[in-house]
């Protein structure tokens, strides 16, 4: 497989208590991995290790694209994350948040693309409003716009439909479907509706 994510002997411990250990799996291109488990099992931690936000206690996760293992910097450019723990800048507008993260990524900012993404996530008329005035559902939608901005190969979703209404949940379903067609999706959830997206599942306990 030219594009894949390899998990080898992965383990994470906090204060001598192992959340999980000896995890081995391969996530193929054009597939969705669902990570399940009870509260505190380590689902978010697993995703954080994948994104390079948290160091593993043992083993590791390799991301291979075009047959080559990515460095940490390259990994950052190929990952998009939506998570309850990820917060956007309340003092900036939706468009300004997209512009900031685009600039920080070293990418040119395009207002038409920003409008296109905001329209996709249902925030087409709210681009100039401060994020601090958004509802939790609107912030969640903006996180998707931010995560998709740089066309990541891998989309990492933690509780993907959190704070979203029915239309929002359908939007997430569409995003996951389209992302599967061009890359990989890794999502952590216990929602039955979201579990059915998976081609592959692991249960952390």
């Amino acid at each position: 497989m030219v594009n894949r994510i390899e998990v080898r002997g992965l383990g994470k411990a906090y204060h001598n208590r192992w959340l999980f250990r000896a995890l081995d799996l391969t996530i193929a291109d054009n597939s969705v991995l669902v990570v399940q488990g009870p509260n505190g099992a380590g689902k978010t931690t697993f995703l954080s290790i994948m994104c390079g936000l948290v160091a593993a206690s043992s083993g590791g996760i390799s991301i291979v694209l075009e047959g080559r293992q990515l460095s940490q910097g390259e990994r950052r450019r190929q990952l998009g994350l939506v998570s309850p723990e990820l917060k956007l800048y309340d003092g900036l507008s939706a468009v300004e948040n997209l512009e900031f993260f685009s600039t920080v990524r070293g990418l040119p900012f395009s207002l038409p693309r920003a409008r296109e993404l905001l329209a996709l996530v249902g925030l087409g008329t709210r681009g100039r409003d401060f994020v601090g005035n958004f509802s939790s559902g609107m912030k969640q939608r903006l996180k998707y716009a931010t995560a998709l901005w740089h066309h990541p190969h891998i989309l990492v979703l933690d509780e993907p439909t959190s704070h979203l209404d029915e239309k929002g949940a359908q939007l997430v379903e569409q995003i996951i479907y389209e992302q599967r067609g061009r890359g990989i999706v890794v999502l952590a959830t216990n929602e039955p509706r979201e579990v059915k997206f998976g081609d592959q599942a692991i249960v952390l306990a």
């Binding site: 994104c51 390079g52 936000l53 948290v54 160091a55 910097g73 950052r76 990952l79 998009g80 994350l81 998570s83 723990e85 990820l86 917060k87 956007l88 800048y89 309340d90 993260f101 920080v104 990524r105 931010t146």
Partner: protein
């Protein structure tokens, strides 16, 4: 605001009396130090408290993040100095003997406060006891800077051998270079768990 308030309060307390060389120089750097701890320390703590650090970690390489924060903090402290220093000289009725040495010392000292304060803020932001940790960490790291800058400021204000200031300035340059280089090397490990 803290700096101006402190200056005015001390000025009223002294009621126009003469300030001894050691005290005058120390006062200035005490004001700079606490202003830095108030302002610079928020660099990374605020990102952690508001949860925006994760988005930043996902989007940016560590080095540009550190440099951006450092440059902002340096600009902040230097802007503050442009208000505080003239007020300080006016309120304490001081005349600078070695103007060039005085200005270079202020510049290098504040850049040093900014660089050390930025990395210390990044370290403290990862801890549960942010404020306390920052205070404890800052003393041993900043003490060489503060002693050297105070020494150079005293010489610049009240006269003395120019060679003395040059030695202190060389020390400040060495300190800044060392702290900045070490910070750039270490920041990635501080920024990512």
């Amino acid at each position: 605001m803290f700096a101006v308030t402190t200056l005015v309060a001390i000025s009223f307390t002294l009621a126009g009396g003469l300030v001894e060389a050691d005290i005058a120089a120390s006062l200035l750097w005490i004001i700079f130090f606490f202003s830095a701890m108030t302002g610079v320390s928020r660099s990374f703590v605020q990102e952690e408290e508001t949860g925006t650090s994760i988005g930043l970690k996902m989007a940016a390489d560590p080095a540009p993040v550190f440099l951006g924060k450092f440059l902002f903090n340096a600009a902040l402290l230097l802007s503050m100095a442009m208000l505080v220093v003239p007020l300080y000289l006016l309120l304490f009725n001081l005349a600078v003997v070695h103007v060039g040495g005085f200005l270079v010392t202020i510049f290098l000292g504040l850049v040093g406060l900014a660089s050390a304060g930025t990395i210390l803020s990044a370290i403290a932001a990862q801890s549960a006891v942010k404020g306390s940790l920052l205070t404890v960490l800052s003393l041993p790291i900043l003490l060489p800077l503060l002693i050297t800058a105070t020494n150079a400021t005293r010489t610049a204000l009240y006269g003395g051998h120019l060679a003395g200031i040059m030695t202190d300035i060389a020390m400040l340059i060495f300190y800044n270079g060392t702290v900045l280089a070490a910070s750039l090397l270490l920041f990635e490990y501080v920024w990512n768990e």
